[in-house]
């Protein structure tokens, strides 16, 4: 081992990544339905504003899933970054 602190550093980085992505997934799940627009009936271009939010949110979800797949795939499942 060249640097004895490396393992501890690595473990703590993994914990932070897990917390970050865990939080991100919870937010993605939590706001796929825009609860803060409950009973809002505003229309934009003929469609409810909450529908536009959902469409945009699915795009954000795809981007986040893509970033996760590139950077931290394997986290939670194998315990390692793949």
């Amino acid at each position: 081992m060249i640097n004895p602190g490396w393992d501890a550093y690595h473990d703590s980085m993994r914990t932070w990544r897990a917390l970050g992505w865990g939080g991100c997934f919870v937010v993605l799940l939590g706001l796929a339905v825009p609860w803060f627009l409950w009973r809002s009936d505003t229309l934009v271009a003929g469609l409810p504003v909450w529908l536009w939010w959902h469409i945009a949110w699915m795009g954000v979800t795809a981007l986040a899933f893509g970033a996760f797949a590139r950077r931290d795939w394997g986290l939670f499942v194998t315990g390692e970054r793949q």
């Binding site: 339905v33 009973r39 959902h54 699915m58 797949a69």
Partner: protein, 496 residues
């Protein structure tokens, strides 16, 4: 060409293409179970995406889904987006990727096989397969009833129900018995692309027609549909639907088995990122059409579907016919995957361990194909007799499958899970859920104990924490049995 002739032409064309694809798949498929059931774990991104997509969504997207949006409003888009796009996507990663790694390392073909190996239990393997077939069989029956009735409607009654359902059963038996997973996945891909394309053509067509009318698109959205929530849509209802169905889908044999079939980690990564987009691209146009049909004042007679009615109002007859035929093809492409998976659960997890442990690979291959036929013919018989209780089982199948998820997830992730804990988790939640479906309601001091709704939450969602409590609780107070191999999964992951 009349609409009926065109519809039948499209259905016949689909069948011919499917058979041709099946024959090609037969020629390149080895005579062993892994190749027949899992296409040799060799599906790439495009085929994996669309076979899962087409298997999951099927005729629901054209018929039942838009009908719900027509009756209750377009919030159904959000429910399905959360359910399939986000939640199922994450389950595919957390459960599916883990299953893929374990399956690849240890050669598992079914869920029951995976659990039976880890817990050294033939009984658990048979139980998981048995529970799955219990829910799957009547669900296939419902598909056959739907397809038979669609053919009756399509031909204006010229083809009687038994002949329509029988013909479709016969076709699927021949096709699935020949082609296996590879052929099913290839036709799913063709069908998924067709389904997405035709939905967008229909959507743009209808939107352009409605935009040209005095009220425009906004006028086609009834006032009570504009505000988020209200009516049938309470937060508990929306979340119960989304959670119950997404979790149930992950344990449905034809979807769960697709967790094993990716060719590489790269394929899974790409699929994960594209999945939410594919889901939103299909649901938004399909379900908006249902909501618009309500706003423009089209009536929906009992037993009919709103999308064909909307299309015959705004598009030429041949186009509406094309969409209906596409939906029928979609119905078949979901049923064929169910037949294949049902057969694999039966041959691998029930026949082989309990009846003939020494069956050769060749014999298992033959038996798998015979199993497809037996499963389909039995379901056809059921679709003719239509016993009420069996229909009820089919219509509550998603909830039944959902109950399997907590013990399965714990088995894969928690090393302390024991065989006794697994039996308690699986049997306990199945008993609970069946009691809520069939049993009389029970309340204790105003608190529902056995009920279909718990303060607005569905029984199938309430069963999930119950499954965790039972599996963890019983595992905690029991010791692993001698036959258990707790490292079966750990070693497999390390090898990766």
């Amino acid at each position: 060409m009349s609409g009926v002739a065109l519809e039948l032409g499209v259905v016949a064309g689909y069948m011919v293409v499917a058979l041709a694809v099946g024959l090609v798949a037969y020629r390149v498929t080895d005579r062993d179970a892994e190749d027949y059931y899992l296409a040799g774990r060799g599906l790439g991104t495009g085929v994996l995406l669309f076979t899962t997509f087409a298997t999951l969504l099927s005729a629901f997207t054209f018929f039942a889904g838009p009908n719900i949006a027509y009756a209750n409003g377009p919030e159904w888009i959000l429910v399905m987006g959360l359910m399939d796009g986000v939640l199922f996507g994450l389950l595919w990663y957390v459960l599916g990727y883990r299953q893929w790694l374990l399956g690849k390392a240890n050669g598992y073909v079914t869920l029951g096989e995976m659990l039976g190996d880890r817990f050294g239990s033939r009984g658990l393997r048979g139980l998981v397969a048995g529970v799955s077939i219990f829910w799957l069989f009547p669900y296939v029956m419902l598909q056959q009833i739907g397809a038979g009735e669609a053919l009756v409607g399509l031909t204006g009654g010229a083809v009687p129900y038994w002949a329509g359902a029988g013909f479709i059963t016969l076709f699927m038996v021949v096709y699935v018995a020949i082609s296996g997973m590879r052929g099913v996945a290839w036709t799913d891909t063709l069908q998924g692309v067709f389904m997405l394309g035709i939905t967008w053509v229909a959507f743009v067509w209808v939107a352009a027609e409605i935009a040209g009318t005095t009220g425009g698109l906004a006028g086609a959205l009834p006032t009570e549909f504009r505000a988020l929530g209200g009516g049938a849509y309470s937060p508990q209802w929306m979340l119960s639907q989304a959670i119950g169905i997404a979790v149930g889908v992950s344990m449905f044999p034809q979807v769960n088995q697709r967790f094993f079939v990716a060719d590489s980690k790269r394929t899974l990564k790409r699929t994960f990122a594209i999945w939410p987009l594919l889901v939103v691209l299909l649901f938004v146009p399909a379900f908006l059409m249902g909501a618009w049909a309500n706003g423009v004042g089209l009536p929906l007679p009992d037993g009919e579907n709103i999308v064909p009615i909307l299309l015959s109002e705004y598009t030429p007859g041949w186009f509406a016919a094309l969409v209906v035929a596409g939906a029928l093809a979609a119905m078949m492409s979901s049923s064929d995957s169910m037949l294949l998976s049902g057969s694999s659960y039966f041959t691998r997890d029930i026949y082989r361990p309990f009846v003939n442990a020494d069956a050769t690979a060749r014999r298992e291959d033959t038996l798998g194909r015979v199993g497809v036929a037996a499963f389909a013919v039995a379901a056809f018989g059921g679709s003719l007799l239509r016993p009420g209780s069996l229909l009820e089982v089919g219509s509550t199948a998603f909830g039944g499958f959902a109950q399997l998820a907590p013990p399965v997830a714990l088995a894969m992730y928690w090393r302390r899970t024991t065989k006794a804990g697994m039996f308690a988790g699986v049997l306990g939640t199945q008993a609970f859920y069946l009691a809520t479906v069939f049993g009389p309601p029970v309340t204790l001091a105003g608190v529902p104990i056995i009920a279909s709704s718990y303060f607005g939450w569905f029984a199938q969602v309430v069963g999930l924490p119950l499954g965790v409590v039972l599996t963890v609780g019983v595992s905690a107070v029991t010791a692993p049995s001698d036959t258990e191999n707790a490292s079966a999964y750990v070693d497999a992951l390390r090898a990766d």
